[in-house]
Symmetry: C2
Subunit: 484 residues, 2 copies
Amino acid sequence: MNSFELAARLRTVLPSNSVLHDTEDLKPYECDGLSAYRQLPMIVALPQTEEEVVEVLRICHASKTPVVARGAGTGLSGGALPHPKGVLLSLAKLKRILKIDPFARTAQVQPGVRNLAISEAAAPYGLYYAPDPSSQIACSIGGNVAENSGGVHCLKYGLTVHNILKLRVITIDGEILEVGGEGLDAPGYDLLALMTGSEGMLGVVTEVTVKLTPRPEKAQVVMAAFNDIRKAGNAVANVIAAGIIPAGMEMMDKITTQAVEEYVHAGYNLDAAAILLCESDGTTEEVAEEIERIGAIMNRSGATEIKASRDEAERLRFWAGRKAAFPAAGRVSPDYYCMDGTIPRKRLADVLSGIEALSSKYGLRCMNVFHAGDGNLHPLILYDANRPGELALAEEFGAQILQMCIKAGGTITGEHGVGIEKIDQMCSQFEASELEIFHAIKAAFDPEELLNPGKAVPALRRCAEHGAMHVHRGEEKFPELPRF
Amino acid sequence: MNSFELAARLRTVLPSNSVLHDTEDLKPYECDGLSAYRQLPMIVALPQTEEEVVEVLRICHASKTPVVARGAGTGLSGGALPHPKGVLLSLAKLKRILKIDPFARTAQVQPGVRNLAISEAAAPYGLYYAPDPSSQIACSIGGNVAENSGGVHCLKYGLTVHNILKLRVITIDGEILEVGGEGLDAPGYDLLALMTGSEGMLGVVTEVTVKLTPRPEKAQVVMAAFNDIRKAGNAVANVIAAGIIPAGMEMMDKITTQAVEEYVHAGYNLDAAAILLCESDGTTEEVAEEIERIGAIMNRSGATEIKASRDEAERLRFWAGRKAAFPAAGRVSPDYYCMDGTIPRKRLADVLSGIEALSSKYGLRCMNVFHAGDGNLHPLILYDANRPGELALAEEFGAQILQMCIKAGGTITGEHGVGIEKIDQMCSQFEASELEIFHAIKAAFDPEELLNPGKAVPALRRCAEHGAMHVHRGEEKFPELPRF
């Protein structure tokens, strides 16, 4: 079936204006948040109901057409990059909040609902949806499920997988699956967890039941400055080792604080090699006690300055700087490459030193800003795409950071997913036998590989061509990080 | 290969005394905690190392011999019931604690390590392993992973899946998989969650890395009495709706409190239709504040008596009664059948009324004792196996309870698993399309169905023969529970 025939076929089940086929209409869908990769899809389908999603999938299945599902397109690993011979299936029009149940503390929503819109709808009941990716104004819950998104608060409140109860999923052959349930556990294999983070490879989500969390009475944040990035890394480990789970624990290095300070005037210590932001939430008494304990630990860990936010305005100002880190990177460098790796917390100081060494080696600056509490790094490699060779250098620098994460017992992604960006690093992360299991699971849902082909899990052939040696994860076997 | 040849073959890779073949040696393995089902295995293998596990699985794979893995054998759904033509693979000898890392707050252990032994080993560091099934003195962590076990504390601290980080798993063809990692999230599909609770159908666990939790400074428990079981059910929902996550919230009805009181002298209110035990843990100040709030909610919910434990001895006495509920059932009835279903918390009062009605209908008493906070019911149906027909009546009563759980939007198991016991109820819980996905996942790991055949996921053929109508879960479609 050629693209005109397929478009015509799709128009028998969708309103005509919900099937886009002209190049200029397709253009807005050519990339997601990873704009270094661009590709026009053959057709864009914009269903408005679950029935229409089922019909689109049935047609694609019958005609062996690849399907790439897309939420808000804010993803940073190219998971929603279109397939040139495929249908880009946008879930943007499925954006109804079907039900808020304040008693059961759940919300039942369609996939196109924005992350923040759920919290807004739940606010009158004193509830909110806890996972808060930086893109939460724009990103949709369907995409959050596909990528198992995190955010500043996920240290205390968990990732997407910990905050959802039930999914309705359409398989490639148009079957409706309900996975999960309202109870704490479900019999059978854990399909809810399997679907979450599967990057659109196993099915298309048409409904999500999320847990809602009571809004804490009070929140306060401590800003601690350190003259040595290793001390800051150890302070993070010390807070956690003391049994405190902060509502958020973020670190920024000197380049970052300097870049954001002139922009948001957060009141950061600009002489510090690194600052930590550590938030406590709960009842007023709990917060007062925890903030005191956090302050004492920062002090013992060698902080040169410790400030607790005095009021809500100051708390928001402290966070505004952190949230502006990515835009601020755009002010100090023409281009930047945002990495996403996760390491065991106790290796923070080592890996930060390693990144510093790599920065000297490649002659490229790197801003370090990240979810320190859960070991999720977001190094921003600064480069100038107009200087010949710098993009390639930045990419090599980035790949070295990810290899270092694996060697430190961590992983190549924290919350941005694998998508197309890190598909080759998957060859380093996993053994062939593990990738084979992934492929077999994929085949259980989608034997013809029509859903998001070429993403998330590399073909074994690709790994062989890429020539990646599998670096077995786990520090036990690689106690030493490479020296640069 | 006949059983003698197979035993000889196994003795080439295991010490001779680790391969049991004589009937009297096999006898102790004929059942697990669900002793109504008994079956001698063909052979019992008792490997002592991971390498030996790999060798046993390779031999079974090559000879197409079914393999049933077994931990401590405390399971209550017959998940470790032997296969008459298979090898019973006991992991009991893999019982080393490989490492306690107090800084990362993890323990790396072999599958045969007892649940409580992990907490004992972690105690010097002020840490413990949170999931605490009633059988925790005896049950092993490998079995906990296979069943995704819970316990009194799982309301606040999560199920097994929330408390493990990494698994080493041997596939049926002897490949070693490492799933999960020390970071918060891992790329690829979530095999850690998929393995957890898969009841020995996908692989054999040889190593578990668990999270350790800091022991709280203080714990206190409130005992609240109610003259109406519906009020007690609503009190549970009210506590949760107020944003409190108790460390444990358990309910017992009148038959249960009376049966246990004369046995443990816990100080329960014996006139109450139901009592609730609700625990708070944390710092001394947190506990004081939370206990006050819990008391106020119990009061508003209509409690006729509210007592907070005055010291640690009284707290332990309050819990001793709860923990003795199963043995106490043995004192008031010659036989009992322990059920395990989960329902949304808000349906507690409805389902309890339904069980009361069923109890009258079948003329059998039923003790209700359960993890109220997470909606996990453990009705104990009392019967006398010596009276003709009573076992069959008890089983029918039990099946009706599970159907009611499904209709209330819940599931047929909370923490005991499906095993052999509830395999037919799986036909009611799931649609054929959902069961097909389960089978396809099974085939991805074990296409010849050698691992624990006949358990957990029913063949579609079996469902057809069983004649179960699929009762679609979710109260939306079945707002009314059946009237008896």
